[in-house]
């Protein structure tokens, strides 16, 4: 008898919440470092020892406020942050025992207020100024929320049906349930932010209107679709982000192959492979043209994938998707070897002549990054390596137009927490600009 796979079970949040006892024991274990390295390592610089000691003292609302003051998307970040590379990786206890479970404590504190409907912030006294935010992802929502706290009238325009951006659509439920992302959207709305979904610049929203109707604009538009592979048979290749989205919005309707090949070796590729494996694929293989050393997935994600039973083919470049009657039957690949460093500083992979081989499969998923933001061209913004160029204040080449999140990430790797920090700092910069124009002193 075939085993029935229930998506809500196999894809449910991987880590259970900490019990009260676990949280208390862990909170007490924290040393309460001074000028703590975890806080430095956090891109939003949450005062981590402070929020942890508030858990220990039983002041959970204060703990959540401490987190959300620095990071309005604290419930998402508690789940999706690569804590091994950030706060937990910097914990001084790595030297002596094991680091504090900072991410899970953060989740414990933020869940506490969301589960009880406690709002830790109020809208600020109205300034009479209006700000438009394009894109309701982590950067946009954070910018909007921070400005609302400062008394601005903020409207967020979101092209999708739901707000939340990648938190809603692009992070597998295993790491973050949709409800968590949507609860953050609601929290931002309760700060007085108006979120208009189904509104897209250039489609049903005109840039002139936005410029004319608002005192400042923040662009948090993220990146585009997964780029083309440029190989024959590509029309049958599934877009990795769509794959993840389907696993969240309509998992029962997601078609998963028996033998799935995922092209790419970043964190999104790992997520796609995880979905395929958990939804019943017999064999899931990740194909990457460089070696293990160059892969962009975090080491802990790589370990996780291996534990899931996902296989890896390094130094392997896809050259053609083999089709029979419109159905995928295999992925033709060529073996690669590493040559001299390329523009990225990593050894450039070169094909080994005559090394073509076929990976039998019935589904190919690509997760090889995202296209650069197209909006830059449309609005005539200056760019840097295709990303929107901003100054120290997150202001673009258009005065009064700010940007943050993945769309400006010309350097470093894109992440939710970096987007949150951009949104927050951009909000402060917008505040400075608009209070200066009012002749008021900025905070």
């Amino acid at each position: 008898m075939q085993q029935v796979i229930k998506p809500e079970e196999v894809l449910k949040e991987y880590h259970p919440p900490l019990t009260d006892h676990e949280a208390l024991v862990e909170a007490h274990r924290c040393l309460y470092c001074y000028d703590a390295p975890c806080t430095h390592a956090c891109p939003t610089h949450i005062d981590i020892p402070k929020f942890i000691k508030k858990i220990a003292s039983g002041n959970l609302v204060g703990s959540a406020r401490t987190i959300l003051e620095a990071n309005l998307m604290g419930a998402t970040c508690a789940r999706v942050c690569p804590v091994e590379e950030l706060c937990e990786g910097a914990c001084v206890l790595n030297a002596e025992e094991k680091p504090i479970m900072i991410g899970r404590l953060q989740r414990y504190a933020t869940d506490y207020v969301y589960e009880r409907g406690i709002d830790v912030f109020k809208p600020g006294p109205p300034t009479g100024k209006r700000v438009a935010v394009i894109g309701a992802g982590p950067a946009g929502l954070t910018c909007a929320g921070e400005l609302a706290k400062l008394g601005y009238s903020v409207t967020v325009f979101e092209k999708r049906e739901l707000a939340g951006g990648l938190s809603t659509y692009g992070i597998i439920v295993l790491r973050e349930p949709v409800e968590v992302a949507l609860a953050e959207v609601e929290m931002v709305k309760r700060l007085g932010v108006e979120v208009k979904t189904g509104m897209e610049l250039g489609r049903n929203l005109s840039w002139e209107e936005v410029r004319a109707g608002y005192d400042a604009v923040f662009l948090g538009v993220g990146l585009g679709a997964v780029p083309k592979l440029g190989i024959p048979g590509e029309e049958q290749v599934v877009d990795g982000l769509s794959y993840i989205e389907a696993s969240k919005m309509n998992p029962a309707g997601l078609k998963v192959g028996r033998q799935v090949v995922v092209i790419g070796a970043g964190n999104t590729a790992v997520d796609c492979a995880t979905i395929a494996k958990r939804l019943g694929a017999e064999r899931v293989t990740m194909v990457y043209r460089r070696s293990e050393r160059e892969m962009t997935a975090y080491p802990h994600e790589y370990e996780f994938a291996k534990k899931e039973g996902i296989e890896f083919r390094f130094l392997t470049q896809p050259v053609e998707v083999l089709l029979e009657g419109g159905q995928v039957v295999g992925l033709k690949c060529v073996r690669m070897r590493l040559g001299a460093p390329d523009a990225s500083g990593r050894p450039a992979p070169e094909p080994v002549p005559g090394s073509e081989f076929v990976l039998p499969c019935d589904q190919v998923v690509k997760a090889i990054g995202q296209e650069k933001p197209w909006l830059a061209q449309m609005l005539g913004l200056e760019t840097e390596k295709g990303f929107i160029k901003v100054n120290q204040d997150y202001e673009t080449s258009l005065p009064g137009v700010y940007a943050g999140g993945d769309c400006i990430r010309a350097r470093g790797s894109a992440s939710t927490v970096m987007a949150v920090q951009d949104g927050k700092l951009a909000a402060f910069a917008i505040h400075r600009r608009l209070t200066q124009s009012l002749g008021m002193a900025a905070d």
């Binding site: 040393l31 470092c33 000028d35 390295p37 975890c38 430095h40 610089h45 910097a90 002596e96 700092l425």
Partner: protein
């Protein structure tokens, strides 16, 4: 293997560990089990006057996720009948001839009441009697327990009623709820006590419930002071124990002392021995973990004694007492400074904030190049574990400014990372007592003090 057996005023036991007079020694069945586990002796829960107990009688103080760093109680003496207790004592002693069975007693302050209880206890075959002058609640309100222990004259009077009739050793258990335990101890000795024991519990209120505003524990809406015991009282017990050890009258009497107050591990036990206790009584640790803890008390003490070359308990008893002094006799020229081992330092920088905020501002944060840097100096755009760790400054003591207060050593979470190192002060040894005799003006007048400091080279920054 060291010989752990003791002879306490004629009471012998195979090891120095006795269960204290308390709930663990409430019944024969319990004491049987304790002896099976290896306890050297037991002081039976106090028998005597009739009582009635209440619920919620034990409170506890928890801290930092640690349960029961202290317990407090308003339990009274045994609420089981005299006959039952006496029968079970006799039975236990008959089964365990090699163990010390001491019976704690407390009756009304009348000579005939005391004579009667003494005779009944002796009749059981018990090895000794402990007079409970310490219980600070319930019984004290009736003129017993600490109401006796707090008044040396009562101590002496009642002890003499007992020693006049007793043919077995009499131990007087002292209350810590006094300015000094020496006068009641001397009073007990004057009345012929054969041994002393301390400390009984300390007056305490555990806390208040923040939702109901009731006391913790809540006894039908009320609460009140109870007797405090457990790990948190150990330093108080050690101080009171040593105050007897250095008292001339007590010392000359040669009377042994049974020490108690927070003994949880063999380490605690060894410290009590070093400060003059011959036998050791344990209660809270047993109430927390059960009788089984005797195994490591004995095993650990044995290993430590072997490592230090002690063959008998008597060799350990009081060995640190000659070190007990007071401030007047400390060498004011003794100088130690804190030294941080950079190899062990995990850079939590708790020493830095403790020194800088609350002590003497002599720890700097230094970067990898050795430059002194302020805390929180990273840019808002800096992040990630590599940047956080590679740029994290390290604490370093400015030894020339360090007063050697030892706060950093105390807050450091890493064993052996911050050591207090003795350094020459360049000044001849001198005590405050000597200064008072040779340079009294220095001890009385600030300008004379300033001149003295200049003269000998003491600089306070």
């Amino acid at each position: 293997m060291a010989d752990l057996s003791i002879n306490f005023a004629g009471i012998r036991s195979p090891n120095p560990f006795w269960l204290a007079s308390a709930p663990p020694t409430n019944s024969g069945a319990q004491v049987h089990r304790a002896f099976e586990a290896g306890w050297g002796g037991a002081v039976w829960k106090t028998i005597g006057a009739p009582v009635l107990n209440v619920s919620n009688r034990y409170g506890a103080w928890h801290y930092g996720g640690q349960r029961m760093l202290a317990i407090n109680n308003v339990e009274l003496i045994s609420d089981r009948s005299l006959e039952v207790n006496l029968r079970e004592i006799r039975d236990v002693k008959r089964h365990w001839p090699d163990r010390a069975v001491i019976v704690s007693a407390m009756v009304e302050s009348k000579p005939e009441a005391w004579r009667e209880i003494v005779l009944k206890i002796e009749d059981t075959g018990a090895d000794g009697i402990e007079l409970n002058y310490g219980c600070p609640h319930g019984m004290s309100e009736r003129g017993m327990g600490s109401a006796v222990g707090q008044v040396p004259e009562y101590c002496q009077q009642i002890t003499s009623w007992v020693t006049e009739v007793a043919r077995i050793p009499v131990i007087v258990k002292l209350t810590p709820n006094v300015a000094s335990v020496v006068p009641p101890a001397r009073a007990a000795l004057a009345a012929g006590a054969h041994g002393l024991s301390l400390i009984n519990t300390i007056n305490s209120i555990i806390g208040v419930d923040l939702d109901t505003f009731e006391l913790i524990p809540n006894i039908g809406g009320k609460g009140g002071h109870g007797g405090y015991a457990g790990p948190a009282v150990k330093p108080i017990a050690l101080n009171l124990l040593s105050s007897l050890g250095v008292d001339e009258v007590v010392r000359k009497s040669g009377v042994p002392i049974s020490g108690m107050g927070g003994i949880t591990t063999w380490r605690d036990a060894a410290e009590f021995l070093l400060l003059g206790a011959t036998s050791l009584q344990v209660c809270t640790a047993v109430m927390h973990y059960g009788f089984r803890i005797i195994e490591d008390l004995v095993d650990g003490l044995n290993a430590w004694m072997d490592a230090k070359g002690f063959k008998t308990i008597a060799e350990v008893v009081g060995k640190s007492l000659p070190r007990i002094s007071d401030f007047n006799d400390f060498d004011l020229s003794f100088r130690a400074v804190a030294r941080i081992n950079p190899e062990k330092c995990i850079r939590c920088n708790l020493c830095y904030v403790a020194c800088n905020d609350t002590a003497h501002q002599c720890i700097d944060l230094v970067d990898a190049q050795g430059n002194v840097v302020p805390p929180f100096r990273y840019d808002v755009h800096s992040n990630g574990k590599r940047e956080a760790l590679s740029t994290r400054p390290q604490p370093r003591v400015r030894e020339e400014d360090c007063v050697g207060c030892r706060l950093c050593h105390n807050v450091c979470p890493v064993e052996g990372c911050i050591e207090m190192v003795e350094v020459p002060s360049g000044r001849p040894p001198v005590t405050w007592r000597e200064l008072m005799q040779t340079r009294p003006e220095v001890t009385e007048d600030w300008s004379a003090m300033e001149r003295y400091r200049k003269e000998v080279g003491i600089e306070i920054h």
